[in-house]
Amino acid sequence: MPLANFLSAVRELILDTDTFADNLDDRVADYTTRFPALSPEEIQDLAKITPDRLKIYTSTIFHGEKSTLLNHFACSFACLAKYWEEAYRRKFSEVGLVRALHRRYPWETNQTITLANNYVRYVAEALTEIQNVCPWIVDLTNLELLSLITKREHSDVEARDSLQEDELLQLTVEEILSLKAQIPEYVHFEQFSYDVIEVIRSFHQKSSIDTVPTTKNPVSAICGRNQKLYPRWAKTDIRLHDWLRDRRQKAQIDIEELADFFLNSIADPADSEEEVFILFLRTLTSFINAGILVISRT
């Protein structure tokens, strides 16, 4: 279909052409070589367009993609900006990064999540030099991606449907142990090699990168969403993380069973029963507040 060839040439001129010939005849010669499927009239049509007009699209497209990524990956973009010169001996350009991303992994769907996945993959596979300077960057992009996914997931239950912290604290031990909980569909389980939870917490407080991991420190974390439906991460012991992950498909989890596991596998045997129960309640409320566990009121 000739129209397909024409639109394809327009795509190439807008997305993948860095330099254009200044005058019409040179553009005709250039396009004739590059787009052999086009007719001489179609070549003339394209050559008549002054390159600065085409570049308006190039600029709006890549600035648009940069804004979309910055919305969801503000913290890792700030890391790239902070460490780029040290890694690559040149200034960081957000739009330059997005253009390089497009060259390696073109955006193949109309969905933001594809662009987000491409970015995470690009950082992991193509930006190896910066990983030498800030090795936690790959973990950080994964964390931001999972936050985005968690934020937008469909779910029948939400954090606000749960028995809340203040209600929980008014119950007797027996009443607490008789409760049932559910893990909503939006919950994600992840293990990071570096403690990037602290990087992102500090970034949200200060809007700058100043808390960074100095060594590898594996962290198990669970992402839920709070009562206002914003993603929230809770760091947790790996055994508890895995125990919950293995039960995420279950319709109901008995709090008594969870408490037993906590007591027998996680608690310090030197602690008194009361100390262990206080610690358990603290963990349970952190899960409730992050929307990781939704506890039924009945």
Partner: protein, 285 residues
């Protein structure tokens, strides 16, 4: 009823995330809201829940940016069916998207790229628009886009291209008055003459927006400023020709306080009603 058998809702504004809380809590007077369908349709969570809440109190109209009507890639039927389910769920009385292409070679251009004004492009758009309308089972409007380039006008001009597609596909027109004004500036034509040459009985909705010139003086259709007087003037003349319709104030960047946008929507209402009073024929329509 307005034109193209659609309700004339008067002035409305684009629903943006920054306004959710204020709209939910204060329920300000507004005739209707337009949403970018793709910003909501596949998601749960806060966006969807806020939309559901706002939809209890206001009409919501779905406007799309991803159908890529003029593309030669196969129509994404799976996407179209998801869009249909969403539009019916939010009870959108009609739907719209742009007369342009946004994907080709399975690559997302992430912008509204204009089409060559050729017979072949007309045929392609008409075929796809018939499928889109049959699938969505809703009145469907196509929007004229701002264009910084003319890809081809050997066979016909933009007005003929747009009019032919509207007639052959039998769909409605979302007339973006700002886009016509800017295209008039970029390509040296009279915006009102352009509008007058279109099949105006097909207008089902109007868009109005403003722009802030870049520091180097470049003008793009940036939706980041109030509607300027030149566009209000063109709107006044346009609405006298189309009769009452639904008029949307588009703002995507540099979002002002909600009350400022609502004032612009009220201004659109007032101009529309004044114009219709002056023109009894359309007021009766």
């Amino acid at each position: 009823m307005g034109n193209y058998s659609l309700s004339a809702l008067g002035g409305g504004i684009g629903l943006r995330h920054a306004y959710f809380r204020e709209i939910i809590e204060k329920k300000p007077a507004c005739n209707w809201f337009e949403i970018i369908s793709e910003d909501f349709m596949d998601y749960g969570g806060r966006e969807r829940e806020s939309l559901r809440e706002i939809g209890k109190h206001y009409p919501i109209i779905g406007h799309g940016v991803c159908l890529s009507i003029g593309s030669t890639d196969p129509l994404d039927m799976e996407f179209l069916h998801r869009l249909k389910a969403f539009l019916h769920e939010i009870k959108s009385p009609w739907a719209s998207d742009h007369l342009c292409f946004t994907m080709v070679d399975h690559t997302n251009l992430n912008d509204l790229i204009p089409l060559p004004f050729t017979r072949e492009a007309v045929t392609n758009c008409v075929e796809r628009l018939k499928i889109i309308q049959d699938t969505l089972e809703l009145p469907f409007l196509i929007e004229n886009v701002t264009r910084y380039v003319t890809l081809s006008d050997r066979e016909m001009g933009e007005a003929e291209f747009l009019s032919t597609i509207l007639e052959e596909a039998d769909c409605g027109l979302l007339l973006d008055v700002t886009n016509v004004y800017l295209n008039g500036q970029f390509h040296g034509y009279d915006p009102l003459a352009f509008i007058s040459s279109l099949p105006l009985k097909r207008v089902g909705q109007i868009h109005l927006a403003g722009w802030e010139p870049a520091s180097d003086g470049t003008i793009i259709d940036s939706h980041d400023a109030p509607v300027p007087d030149v566009v209000w003037d063109l709107f006044r003349e346009t609405i006298a020709l189309t009769g009452p319709t639904s008029v949307l104030i588009e703002r995507d960047k540099g979002l002002p306080p909600l009350s400022d946008l609502l004032k612009e929507a009220t201004q659109a209402d007032q101009i529309m009603h004044a114009s219709c009073k002056d023109n009894k024929v359309h007021a009766a329509g």
